[in-house]
Amino acid sequence: MDLDFSVIPANSELLVEGMKMTFLLTALAIVGGMILGTFLALLRIAKVPVLAQIAAAYVNFFRSLPLILVIFWLFFLVPLIMGRPVGAFSSVLVAFILFEAAYYSEIIRAGINSVSTGQLAAARAIGMTYWQSMTNVVLPQAFRAMTPILLTQAIILFQDTSLVYVVGLRDFLVSAEIVANRDQRLVEMFLFVAVVYFVLCFTASLGVKQLQRKFAND
């Protein structure tokens, strides 16, 4: 077997574009997923009638589905609802936000539950409304406590974005696969993709561990 890794620098522009897409999708899905996830968690914590049950059903429902199925669903639904063709990117982004929100919601709920109820009582005692106490006192502490888990989830999400392969969105993996098939360099390209993902995720997870230690010492 003759390996020729020069195919990588020769196509660096395409690969960098792909990696940009992977990062963009990850970043937007994290932001969207956390906003929706926080909202779902708050509905359940505050025990808002009916809405709390809907939020719980939402979380259980999405956690029982494969991500690929959710991607296919939205790829099919979003153009139908919009009444016009939309790019794969918007459909996929909606799919990731809806899907990740279910997982973020559980993390955030656990984070909020870890904050002492005395904090809420104290905030209420100095005259804050329930929602003011939540957003100004409880949530900031909850987010600090769950930062390591949120970051770990971000690493998982970063890996999961590779599933956009099924609708052909040009992320890092798809760009590499295009080069692999065109230049007949499957072995080189897939090994390269694996090494890049490994280095990025492993480094990030070491960072998370360090942060965890720092938090434990505080």
Partner: protein, 240 residues
């Protein structure tokens, strides 16, 4: 929204049969991958908690390697790269002569990936049993393997039934990745129905219901098992 509904499609030939066949392959992949994941994950989990630094290092390297590469990339590595780096004859066997090459590859890839996750659960279970039990076992003259066989593992498994259930359900959901290398499991079947009939709504609804039903059934059953096998004197047993 402009759409022609036809729910009857799910019950007509050949589509009803496709869905059942897809579900069958999803279950086959999930169960066989789980056998690999559970066996290897348990061994690695033991490795990571033993007194041997070499075994611990092997366990750690395995977990870090398999956890930090996306499962889809791992699947492609096993399917496209692995046969190429083998000697020619072996590579040909893996690519063509092995029974159901794509399906087998998917099962092995999913199993090896999930083993890294099962390993971490087993490790945390063993750590939860506590050093006291380990020392007590050694003090009454048990060898280290005996301590694992008779004390640590039986207790650890009973503690980690809920996270192991989640790991199994993760395999069940991730078996859908097999469609990327051409295995026609449940998700692929419903995609195929969408492409043949343009009834995407009905097809994806069918898959959604089947996945949810299986997930909730497994969770319900395992909650029952968890109660029955709870260690006396823990919160899982009702706090008694």
């Amino acid at each position: 929204m402009n759409y022609n509904w036809d729910w009857g499609i799910l019950f007509r030939d050949p589509y009803a049969g496709w869905i059942l066949e897809g579900l069958w392959w999803t279950i086959v992949i999930s169960l066989l991958a789980w056998v690999i994941a559970f066996t290897l994950g348990s061994i690695l989990g033991v490795f990571r908690t033993t007194s041997s630094p070499i075994l611990r290092a092997i366990g750690t390297c395995y977990v870090e390697l398999f956890r930090n590469i996306p499962i889809l990339v791992q699947l492609f590595l096993w399917y496209f790269v692995f046969p190429e780096i083998l000697p020619d004859d072996w590579g040909r066997w893996v690519k063509r002569d092995m029974p159901a090459p794509a399906m087998t590859t998917a099962i092995v890839a999913l199993g090896l990936y999930t083993a890294s996750r099962v390993c971490e659960q087993v490790r945390s279970g063993i750590e939860a049993v506590g050093v006291g039990q380990r020392q007590a076992g050694r003090a009454i003259g048990m060898t280290e393997p005996q301590v694992y066989r008779h004390i640590l593992l039986p207790n650890a498994y009973r503690i980690i039934i809920p996270p192991l259930t989640s790991e199994f359900l993760t395999i069940f959901k991730q078996s859908s990745l097999a469609l990327t290398i051409g295995v026609v499991e449940l998700t692929a079947m419903t995609r195929q129905i969408e492409e043949y009939t343009f009834q995407g709504f009905e097809a994806f609804t069918a898959a959604t219901i089947v996945y949810s039903l299986v997930t909730f059934t497994v969770m319900f059953l395992m909650r029952f098992v968890d109660k029955r096998t709870a260690l006396p004197g823990t919160f899982a047993s009702g706090g008694a």
